[in-house]
Every structure is written in C-alpha cells, then in structure tokens.
C-alpha cells in the first residue's frame, strides 16, 4: 500500500479540505516537529520535513477518512518523506545500516549484555538531557520505535502501519531498542556515580 492509498477515497469540497486540514491535521504539528527533529537533528531540516508532510497531506487529503487516526497517517507520510528524500540529502553523517545493526543485536549476546543490577532510582535521578542524549544516540530505527511507542503512544498496529513492518517486528525491535537504551543509561549512571 502506498503512503496515501486507502480503500475508499473521500471527495471533499475545498471548504471541507481546509476544515479537515485545520481541525484534524494541524493539532499534531508539535508531535510532528518533535518527530522530525529526532530523525534529522537539524532545526531547518525538521521544519522542511514537517512543511513537506503537511503539503503532501493536503494534496492527498481525499485518501484520508475523517474520523480515522490522522496522527498515524501524518506520521507515516513524514517517515516516508524522511526515508525517500531527507535521508539522502541529510547534513548528518551516514547512519548505520539498520540491517547491520539489527543482525548484530539480534544475536543472543545483546540480552546477555543487559546488566542485571539495574536500579530504577538511578534512572529517576537522571536529568532530561541525559536521557534525551541516550535516546538520540540509538540507531534511527531503534530510536524511532521508542519515540512512536513511549513518547507518542501509538499502538503496535499503528506502528506497524507507520513503519511498514509486521507487528512481530515492531515488538522485537522495541524490545531490543529498550534494552539498548537501558544498557546505555546504566553505563552512564555508573560513570556519573548515580549508582553505587
């Protein structure tokens, strides 16, 4: 299915299109910008990505059914725009190839490497900056599932549609992403003396 394809197209008047745009799409601009920034780490690119997403959303608005999940629909367009356009011309250095990362972390070792002496209090004491930096340091595909699930509250089914992957992959990728984040935060906590 393409990003804008759906089973039954709506046929909005110009007035309806603007109403849907203002009432259903614009309320998500904060979440969209935060997602775009966490993908690009560049304010200008994030703004461009959000603008482009909104323009695409308007252009293909007949594919959107009123009352369905506008936020998930917009996130899917944004994610595809990032992959298709922005990732290619990004100022960021090339990201680690996901397959490479996934096959490495799919090995049994990753679960064994997660320390068993984690203390939740150490994480509670950390600053927002420290936790944000740890999240930002994850490879983009691991970072993305944590953003979608933990920060934006999408369900596994919605995430599967946004990312074009099976639900089982959403689940396993999220499991590994959280373990990697715990591992990073635990190492950091030890370095900074949060844990004794």
């Amino acid at each position: 299915m393409t990003e804008v394809e759906s089973f039954q197209k709506a046929d909005y008047s110009r007035k309806d299109k603007l109403r849907v745009f203002d009432n259903e799409f614009m309320p998500h601009v904060n979440s969209m910008y935060n997602f775009a920034y966490r993908l690009t780490f560049d304010e200008d690119e994030a703004k461009d990505l959000v603008q482009e997403t909104y323009m695409k959303a308007y252009r293909f608005i007949n594919s959107f059914q009123t009352g369905t999940n506008a936020k998930a629909w917009l996130f899917r367009i944004l994610k595809n725009s990032f992959i298709n356009d922005f990732r290619k011309k990004s100022k960021q250095p090339a990201k680690v190839d996901y397959q490479e990362v996934e096959s490495y972390y799919n090995s049994e070792d990753v679960d064994k490497s997660i320390t068993t002496d984690l203390r939740i209090d150490a994480f509670k004491d950390m600053l927002g900056d420290e936790i944000t930096n740890a999240l930002n340091s994850l490879a983009v595909d691991f970072r993305t599932v944590i953003i979608l699930c933990d920060l934006e509250g999408f369900t596994y089914e919605e995430m599967a549609k946004i990312l074009d992957i099976p639900i089982g992959t959403v689940r396993s990728r999220l499991h590994r992403a959280r373990n990697l984040l715990k591992d990073k935060l635990n190492s950091y906590a030890k370095t900074m003396g949060y844990q004794n």
């Binding site: 745009f21 900056d129 369900t155 596994y156 984040l181």
Partner: protein, 89 residues
C-alpha cells in the same frame, strides 16, 4: 519445603519466565490479551522476580515518557505551513 516441592516450584517459575518475558512487554505497552493478563497475575503470585521485572519496565517507560525533552515548535512553522497552503490552494 521438601526437595520435590522445591524442584516443582523452581520448574514452574522457570517455565513461566520464558512466557513472561514476552508478556511483560505486552503488559507495559497495554497490548496484552485477557488470557495473558490472567496468566501473569496467577504466575506472579508465586514469582516475585517477574513481578519486579514488570514493575521495572513499566517505570522505565514512564521515566522515558516524562524525561525526554519536548521541543517547542519554531514560531514561524505554523505561519509558513499556512502560507504554503495558501499558495497551493
């Protein structure tokens, strides 16, 4: 506890642990089925480590949600979207 009953209890805990690793994530993400919830509730009457693992993961998720910094959108973002839209419409 007799040797046999201890072995039986450990075996039960071990069997549950594998199944629980998956269920704990589903519970934390509010994706578990009623059967899975029922299984976990019954299992954690005897298995403290699975209960603690669930509590840790639930709290970890809430720390991430609360502490990751949210950015304010640039002041000119909404006006620029509206401007582009006006050009397009």
């Amino acid at each position: 506890m007799t040797k046999n009953s201890k072995e039986s209890s450990e075996s039960k805990e071990g069997e549950g642990k594998c199944k629980c690793a998956e269920i704990i994530q589903l519970l934390v993400d509010d994706e578990a089925s009623n059967d899975q919830i029922e299984f976990f509730e019954s299992h954690t009457e005897e298995c403290l480590s699975c209960l603690e693992e669930y509590q840790f993961d639930a709290e970890f998720k809430s720390i991430i949600r609360e502490k990751v910094l949210k950015l304010n959108i640039p002041n000119d973002l909404i006006p620029s979207i509206k401007e582009k839209l006006a050009q397009y419409v």
